[in-house]
Amino acid sequence: MRQLRYFLKETLLNLRGNKSTTLISMATIAFTMMLFGVFLLLYFNLDALVGSLQQEIKVILYLRDGLAEKERVDLEGKLRQGPGVSNVLYVSKAMALVNFRRSLEGQDILLKGLGDNPLPASFELTLEKAYQSSEAVQRLAQQFKGLNGVDDIQYGREWVDNVNTVLETVRVGSAVIGLILGLAAVVIIAGTIGLTVWSRLEDIEVLQLIGATRAYIQMPFLMEGALMGLIGGVFAVVLLRGVFELAKSRLADVGGFLGGQMNLMFLPMPWLLLFLAVGVGLGCTGSLLSIRRLL
């Protein structure tokens, strides 16, 4: 505890000693971390979007025309007993037409010439959570295809797959860009700490001569890096919040699917804490690189 107070005092002295370099370094760290944060935010929101889309996945089994009532009831029984299905809703041919008309309300012209009801009866299946991944949906669909009375199957897998592909790209992109920006931050911090170490080489020699251990000498520099990373991280979060609010208001202006459906969320507290921890980690790494080389 006593030592900690001394280390903190020395750390603040170091920071004050190289005020302009420290400020420039922290600003750069804040900016690089903010860029990384933008990718993180994008990934977080796309991930949430995919999650909600997957929850809405319904598998629709279109039935063969002229299916006898008994066969329909048998099929429904099998579907209810089968794995992964949480709810089964029967939509008769008549109901399908009503729904269709409702969806095209105000555009009656499109419905002219429809003739007899061409729409098939169907079962709409809601899936249990464990069966909502695209692989599981595909597997279930294959099983249902072989059932008696099923003519065709439709599910929103392509949609989810597309978003998943985007998500995967953003994930890899975030990792690569995060790595590059992280390296940049480490180099910046190492350079700044290096300057402090250089400016204090005489003091360091004196401390060594009067019996200071390596850890005692290195600790203030390590804490300086950690503090720079932390403060840079905090500024990055503030900047990120600004970018987030701007993006949210722009999306609301755009409207449509993105504006209406995509409820943008800021990074939750555990993610923010992790983000700051990454800042501290980068700071420590930069410091260590510098002091290992110079001391």
Binding site: Q3, E202, V206, G211
Partner: protein, 220 residues
Amino acid sequence: MIQLFHVYKSYGRHRAALEDITLRIEKGEFAWLTGPSGAGKSTLLKLLFGLEQPDAGQIVIQNRNVARLKESSLPQLRRSIGFIFQDFKLLQKKTVFDNVAVALQIAGASPTEIRRRVTEVLGSVGLDHKKEMLPSMLSAGEQQRVCVARSIVNHPMILLADEPTGNLDADLTTEIIELLKTINTKGTTMLVATHNREIVSRVPRRVIVLKEGRIAEGGG
């Protein structure tokens, strides 16, 4: 207390700094280490303080073989030996008080203990009234007194001094030598390197003379 057995040290292949040094300095003794420039005085002190390693021979200080100490054990050795430098080696951005306190901080003393002992030692070297000043605001003699205060604040059993009056005028030299004598009367073993024959003759103690890296007088 301090023993050297057949110690050799050279820099490069052809420059022998010390050759076959065997020496014993008793507990509480005050010894001068003299000789012309380049005789090996500073090298000998550096070996005792663990700043250099001997090429051959053994160096035993307080039952520890300094010649075989690992680098990680050096801080511990340096905390148990006080060292007075010719160029003072003070922390220029720290006050007189902090310059002395740092030796205790490194040793892990409590803030109360630090305050008490620093005040006491600064009083003994006559600098209590200048404890808030920076080294640059002090005279050379005062800076050397800060260095002395820092070297004795941990109550070391041994005090080494390398030309402690080398940068001082006659009056300040007397002042520092009197201070060293006082410290010695409290039981601290002293080895003081100087090329100034005049101060050696003023304070008659054992004199170890080095010439071209060998002991010419006062060994044993």
